[in-house]
Subunit: 143 residues, 2 copies
DNA sequence: CTACTCTAAGACAAAATGACTGACAGGTCA
DNA sequence: TGACCTGTCAGTCATTTTGTCTTAGAGTAG
């Protein structure tokens, strides 16, 4: 009774990584990267992974498309979300489970925990400056 | 082949929550909270959950201890990690999987995504100030 | 002894996950 | 035409997790 399926599985993530790195490809090419010298079985595995990813909305496919190197129609798969979106998804899930939906505890944890270098601290400050400028019309009071 | 077991399961988390809220207790009391009017079966379920949590290092138990209300020895369970530690654990796992171990992408995502109020932005700034003061001896190069 | 509570040790089913098989369709090229 | 690729789809399969529950055993009070 593994109740809540994990957002994206380890193996599924491996597929996504390839798509993120190499752009859209066919199952065969993905198989070649993930299981070099891939046999038919591996091909099918990648196929399954892609279908599950599609069901989760992480992958799309361009329907029919003629390959240059071969003679057959093949579908082109491409990532429907990027790494950052996946990160957001996970963070939100996590906040949901552990913090009643609020992301703030996660943020403050990171702020407290991370050992920032002076440079990083400065970058953070600049980032906040950006946010201030971007939205901080009314409330502006931070010196 | 669900390969990597989840850090803490949903049901396990429910147990932890009770421990976080109410402090150390016995299995029976936990059962009463989680499954009001709990039958023997529920008792055993909580028991399993606790054992699994113990194996994961999230729970400890004070061995034998005499209860006031009853006549038998019972063990007292108590949380071995708090919510914030669990958050940290998850964040680190997540960074491991998605960001090659770096927490920075998570942080910047949160910074970009969250809609901060002016007040929150100021608090963040103050937090960074603290960090500056606290560690800002050597590396000092800001500006 | 009997009744009660607790604990330990596992059995169990449903579901998730990774991996795989086989049937079938359409195109190529001898 | 027909053997042969290459690709798709649908479904099977074993292992593991996860939530749940049964049972046997042990200790204590009345």
């Amino acid at each position: 009774m593994a109740r809540t399926p994990r957002d994206v599985t380890e193996r599924e993530l491996a597929v996504l990584e390839v798509l993120w790195n190499g752009g859209a490809t066919t199952i065969r090419q993905l198989t070649e990267v993930l299981y070099p010298g891939g046999r038919t079985a591996h091909y099918a595995t990648v196929q399954t992974l892609l279908h599950r990813l599609e069901a989760k909305g992480c992958v799309r496919r361009e329907r029919v498309c003629y390959l240059p190197s071969h003679h057959n129609k093949a579908q082109i798969y491409l990532a429907a979300i990027d790494r950052d979106e996946l990160i957001g998804r996970r963070l939100r899930d996590m906040a949901e489970q552990l913090c009643g939906g609020s992301l703030t505890p996660l943020l403050t944890h990171l702020m407290r925990t991370r050992q920032f270098t002076a440079v990083e601290r400065r970058e953070l400050r600049l980032l906040i400056d950006d946010l201030d400028r971007e939205k901080g019309k009314g409330k502006g009071d931070a010196r």
